[in-house]
Symmetry: C2
């Protein structure tokens, strides 16, 4: 893996990079659509490519349980299995074990849990997480970590963070492939000293990139931004920085501003399936009866497949009738919105106009909120 | 509407025609994918076009209830609403009223029923069915008819058929648009004399095409074929012949052989969503565990999008994980199978080799059944 810096914004920490993986080049800052079960829900690999996605996320926990990582390896690895030629980052399974499965035991060795699918008993540990990710053949593997929930006591966060560091060292030692980068994950909840200590220890071990975990798990926006702003100056300049599971469009803008290079989140895809669609002037609920006769696209001027062809009235009809096509068309639009947002930021950083761009982003949205009598809750 | 005969098979009644509608040319015999709620479930209009579909079916009953035919008219008609530039045939709503709704009353005037969506009370009559289809703006409208179930007494079938004929005359009189062809529907259950009498009366009224209704509703294959074979020689040569709601691949082959030009059926799309996939050597259930490690496509040599990209193992995984993409990929394959089957028959009729083609169709399937220790239940 190779990471080059292309440009820096003169008036913020925003940076514009280029990441080379075994499966191609990724322009950063980048948003990675989430492909939990070897598919970004409702869209095809060709559609992802048309959207401009060059890297997606796969979930180790889900794929380990179904269809099984060794099976995927026998079928040529995750890229071949799902027919996706772009890059893939796999998480370590840690987050899902702690959020979806029933935990039986957390020990120094690893975690014993029960599958959310059939209740079967499994053990996941640093070596196992690396072996599974090796089977999947992702371009970037994540260290196995404990994701702390929010709120958590300082003492628990400290103990958990230290174990995550020890697990990270075991992950690096257990690396199975030359063509797979490994990222460390900074834990420590909202406690800045714990986060800093974790980062320093991970840097001593040495990773290809550094991620911030357990953000957007219930803490306030201020707490999240505070972690971001404290950590950002300390993160190594030459390695990609990834904030996991984040977030809203505003989170992406603020994250980029703080110097983050990579993001993933289920928000654009999950919200699409719930009928919530993103536009530059805020989000809309397509099921709202006001759209029943609306011949306009979701957003005028949007160049996504959905907006080029279909009206809000049609999308509302599909959604109300629970038609399968609704989920796809909504997902295509929301992913386009997220990916275009990132492209806009990359462009602005290159031009040195990121702060101007950011001002427009908020004024478009707040202006629309005011025009609609909204509260304008979105200002930075 | 214009219907030209291109070729006739020398040794059967199979015929090769060309139908011109307000939205283009349709090569017959043709299979029409079913687009119940202004979408062929799970696929986009572009995918339908790529599949080679040139005409699809829309459901008057469903669209009348949701989102409403007048709303669709305000939004530019069904073609614009769903962004489909090919031809559309709409059924009259009769079949769905009798199969999905709760019937309150069948009278000479029309049918009073309750919506399957919300129980609301509605009336559908010949004039209403034509007005709705006029709002939808389909290229071919169907007469409002009573679909008899199976079995039904001779007396009931006779009375119902006579009412269907009177309704057909009212439909013709209530026609609302010049650019919309109107087809009559031959009823009479499995009673040949009733079917013949119905056809003669409909021909006296005069329609652009003639359909056979209430087939594949529970009667035996022999009864269905007997109706087909009795009616076929009596159907007017110069008008398209449409067998509604039929059927299996074998039904299509036998229907074409009897001189039928048009078919529609939910089978390829519905079965796809249930994981049943068609191949030239019979159908497969993709959820079967034997496919868990199978790197082959559904059918080797199949040129559909799904088979060009994905393995049975991947499709099984998507289906077991209930991923939305499963329904689309399965549907694309099954529709491709149906449309390629029709294209194969059209080609064979042009070459005068339909019977030979039909022999191969059955031997491929029965050979495979025998090779698998099957019972070879498919021979004609």
């Amino acid at each position: 893996m190779k990471f080059d810096m292309i440009a820096r914004d003169p008036s913020s920490r925003a940076r514009r990079g280029r990441l080379q993986t075994a499966h191609g080049t990724i322009e950063t800052p980048v948003f990675m659509p989430v492909g939990t079960q070897a598919t970004v829900k409702s869209v095809s690999p060709d559609e992802l490519e048309d959207l401009g996605a060059r890297i997606i996320l796969g979930n180790t926990y889900h794929l380990y349980l179904r269809p099984g990582a060794e099976r995927i390896a026998r079928l040529g690895g995750l890229h071949a299995f799902m027919h996706w030629d772009g890059s893939i980052l796999t998480d370590s399974g840690g987050f899902q074990v702690f959020s979806l499965a029933k935990i039986n035991k957390i020990e120094e060795g690893g975690v014993v849990f029960q599958s959310h699918i059939d209740g079967s008993r499994h053990m996941l540990d640093p070596e196992g997480a690396m072996r599974i990710q090796g089977h999947l053949g992702s371009d970037i593997a994540m260290c196995f970590d404990e994701c702390t929930s929010y709120p958590v006591t300082y003492d628990y966060a400290a103990g958990s963070m230290q174990r995550t560091v020890r697990w990270a060292a075991r992950c690096k030692a257990a690396r199975t492939r030359e063509d797979q980068a490994v990222f460390g994950i900074v834990q420590g909840s909202v406690f800045s000293d714990l986060r800093m200590s974790c980062l320093e220890q991970l840097m001593d071990i040495g990773f290809d990139g550094y991620a911030l975990g357990s953000l957007s798990v219930g803490e306030s926006k201020d707490e999240m931004l505070s972690v971001l702003e404290t950590l950002a100056p300390a993160l190594p300049e030459g390695a990609p920085r990834y904030v996991m599971g984040v977030g809203t469009p505003e989170d992406l803008v603020e994250g980029v501003r703080a110097g983050v290079d990579m993001f993933d989140c289920v928000m654009p895809t999950r919200n699409a399936r719930n009928g919530m669609l993103f536009t530059s002037s805020g989000s809309i609920q397509i099921k709202n009866s006001r759209y029943a006769d609306d011949p306009e696209p979701i957003e005028t001027g949007c160049t996504c497949y959905t907006c080029r062809r279909f009206s809000r009235a049609y999308l509302r009809h599909l959604f109300m009738a629970r038609e399968i096509l609704a989920y796809r068309l909504n997902t295509l639009h929301n992913l386009h919105y997220y990916l275009a947002l990132m492209a806009g930021m990359r462009d602005a950083i290159e031009k040195g106009t990121f702060e101007e761009w950011r001002g427009r982003f908020y004024s478009l949205r707040d202006g629309a909120a005011e025009a609609q009598g909204g509260t304008g809750d979105a200002g930075p």
